[in-house]
């Protein structure tokens, strides 16, 4: 039902600004699903998630601008670059836990953002990368379709990717690996006593989550055509975390709803722009007070 609504939404409501808003919310959905693997499934608090989004976006941007790789070719390597950075960060970082992990990841996020700003010869510094190619679909001898700056094709691209990631997440959560992640989240010591290689699985979760962010980053870069370091700040990391937490940690459906609501809320509340973050802070406090498991979350026992 909701899939049908999603499929025909742009056709019955061909308002390109609104389609664009929903597309952006769709990118948030992908990001939130990725962070959910790390925070929701495995219980690792991550406060620098925007860094992986940035790595994906810059990886595609550089592959495209320097090597001329088209979007469909660059998408995979961009996701892989982000995933690899997640693993490389995870190997040293996952030795610390809880609050300390949160702070290490926060530091990582800031280091990446400042590095991207300062490495001007490669990243274009504060001005960012300009003129990144939009996706093109080309069937040899038949047709060539450039996504350009239209909103409709991106809507469907994001929809397809988001639904795929969502399905992968649902399957992954129920798999052997997913159950091991849940065991680590609920009680790491008990999990390791049951013979689960907790370190390896935590690094895996971090890598998968980072790769999904990289995917979203590449799509974002291709859609915008321009990326700057400002797009990947701490506020973004917190926003994505808020989507995951408010929707319900570990619940794929909850995370999707959380991301769609919070992703479109700023546009719906345009008139209250100034008070938005204020209200947002209050909501976060109240949620933690009365419903820390989120709207669709598991019982509170499952938090560490």
């Amino acid at each position: 039902m909701s899939v049908i609504v999603a499929l025909i939404f742009p056709l019955v409501h061909p308002h390109s600004y609104h389609i664009d808003v929903v597309t952006t919310a769709g990118i948030y959905v992908i990001l939130a699903l990725g962070l959910n693997v790390v925070v929701g499934f495995t219980g690792l608090l991550h406060l620098g998630y925007a860094a992986f989004f940035a790595i994906g976006a810059y990886a595609y941007g550089l592959l495209n601008l320097r090597l001329g790789w088209p979007f469909w070719v660059g998408l995979g390597p961009a996701a892989m670059a982000a995933g690899l950075s997640g693993v490389l960060l995870g190997i040293p970082a996952l030795r610390v836990r809880g609050d300390y992990l949160a702070i290490v990841t926060l530091g990582f996020g800031e280091i990446v953002r400042i590095a991207v700003t300062n490495l001007e010869p490669w990243t274009g510094g504060p001005n960012g990368l300009l003129g990144i190619a939009h996706p093109v679909i080309q069937i040899p001898g038949v047709d060539r379709y450039d996504f350009g700056v239209e909103s409709m094709p991106y809507y469907y691209l994001v929809l397809v990717v988001a639904v795929s990631v969502m399905m992968i997440c649902v399957r992954m959560g129920r798999s052997r690996v997913g159950r091991a992640w849940a065991a680590i989240r609920d009680d790491e010591l008990a999990a390791s006593c049951c013979g689960i290689d907790t370190f390896q699985l935590k690094v895996l979760a971090q890598g998968v989550g980072a790769a999904i962010a990289g995917l979203a980053g590449a799509i974002f870069a291709a859609k915008q055509g321009t990326i700057t370091p400002d797009s990947f700040d701490f506020i973004l990391s917190v926003m994505i975390l808020a989507m995951v937490v408010l929707g319900g940690l570990g619940s794929v459906l909850g995370v999707v709803v959380g991301a769609l609501v919070l992703g479109t809320l700023p546009e719906l509340l345009r008139g209250f722009e100034q008070y938005r973050m204020l209200v947002f802070g209050v909501i976060m406090i109240l949620m933690m007070r009365w419903r820390p498991q989120g709207v669709f979350g598991h019982p509170p026992r499952l938090r560490a």
């Binding site: 836990r97 530091g107 209050v282 406090i285």
Partner: protein, 325 residues
């Protein structure tokens, strides 16, 4: 302090200048770091909103100056009076704010004594951290709405006296910052080590359950710890505003993180450690910015923080283990 003057300076005097500057900002970091470390010591909570309390302190001091109509440097009794008024309003306001944050945001999340038996270490850390982020957002945006999003000029009411020695210059303001921080730190150390309240704080840090059994009002001690830490951050905020001449509602985030780094550097939970950590971080930052690159200045703190947490999580003077969480 700018590049032009440093080119003319001898290497020795340049180094001395960097050390003096680093010592000054380090003293401010240390004041803020005390709040992190005290709260962590007592309830094992990283109060992420502490950086915003510092920022609110700077704005409260600014408010005091605006009310008093201070716009230029003062001398004598007027100077002392204004300084006292600023400190009083900042400490009072932030102390109340600290109490409020603890009461409304954190206390409801703490397990009640009856439930906490056995699993007290499993306090909902994630919930507390997200609450802290919520408090941060709230404070930042409240200040933005009240005072505007642009930089606010902070009236320089300390006379611009300076002493020069072979190119190294030391301003009266720097001396004021050193003295204020020094006096406060000594006072805190005395409070913690030799008053009844300090004793109760140390006891709560060791074993809250046993404290309750002995009739120590643990909740009140925790609230007072928040208030005390917030008061220190407020003074830090005022000195920060004086030192940089502007305040912005964004300042709390970065400076708060640096102060937190200082607390970790010294060993979180350890009060003298926070002082040492603040000074070391300030000097590291000044030397890094002076000799390596000022563009990367803000990265040094994060690199120190990440490296430290990964390789020596107990900090310089710390005794606790990070792997407890």
């Amino acid at each position: 302090m700018g590049l032009t003057s440093s080119i003319l300076m001898s290497p020795f005097h340049l180094l001395l200048q960097q050390l003096a500057n680093g010592f000054t900002i380090g003293a401010i970091y240390a004041l803020i770091a005390l709040g992190y470390t005290m709260v962590y010591g007592v309830i094992r909570l990283i109060n992420f909103a502490h950086g915003e309390v510092f920022m609110v302190g700077a704005y409260l001091a600014l408010t005091a100056l605006l009310i008093l109509g201070v716009a230029q440097p003062l001398t004598g009794v007027a100077l002392v009076g204004v300084l006292t008024a600023c400190i009083a309003l900042a400490i009072g306001g932030c102390g109340m704010l600290g109490l409020g944050i603890e009461r409304l945001a954190y206390r409801p999340l703490r397990p009640r004594p009856a439930e906490s038996s056995g699993r007290s270490g499993q306090a909902p850390r994630l919930a507390a951290l997200i609450t802290a982020i919520g408090v941060s957002f709230f404070l930042q945006n409240a200040v933005m709405l009240l005072y505007g999003a642009t930089d606010r000029r902070f009236p320089a009411f300390i006379p611009a006296r300076r002493w020069e020695w072979g190119g190294t210059s030391l301003t009266l303001l720097q001396v004021v910052i050193w003295l204020t921080s020094g006096v406060l730190m000594v006072a805190l150390q005395m409070l913690v080590m030799s008053t009844k309240l300090g004793k109760a704080m140390r006891a709560t840090a060791q074993d809250p359950t046993a404290c309750r059994l002995l009739g120590i009002p643990v909740d009140r001690i925790i609230a007072l710890t928040f208030a005390l830490g917030s008061g220190f951050a407020a003074v830090g905020g005022m000195l920060f505003g004086l030192y940089y001449n502007t305040v912005n509602f964004h300042d709390g985030y970065l400076t708060g993180l640096k102060a937190f780094t200082a607390a970790v550097l010294g060993g979180i939970g350890n009060i003298p450690g926070a002082m040492v950590g603040g000074l070391v971080l300030g000097i590291l930052e000044a030397l890094g910015a002076g000799y390596l690159s000022s563009q990367w200045k803000n990265v040094f703190a994060f690199v120190v923080l990440v490296g430290l947490l990964l390789f020596k999580p107990t900090g310089l003077l710390g005794e606790r283990v990070a792997d407890r969480a």
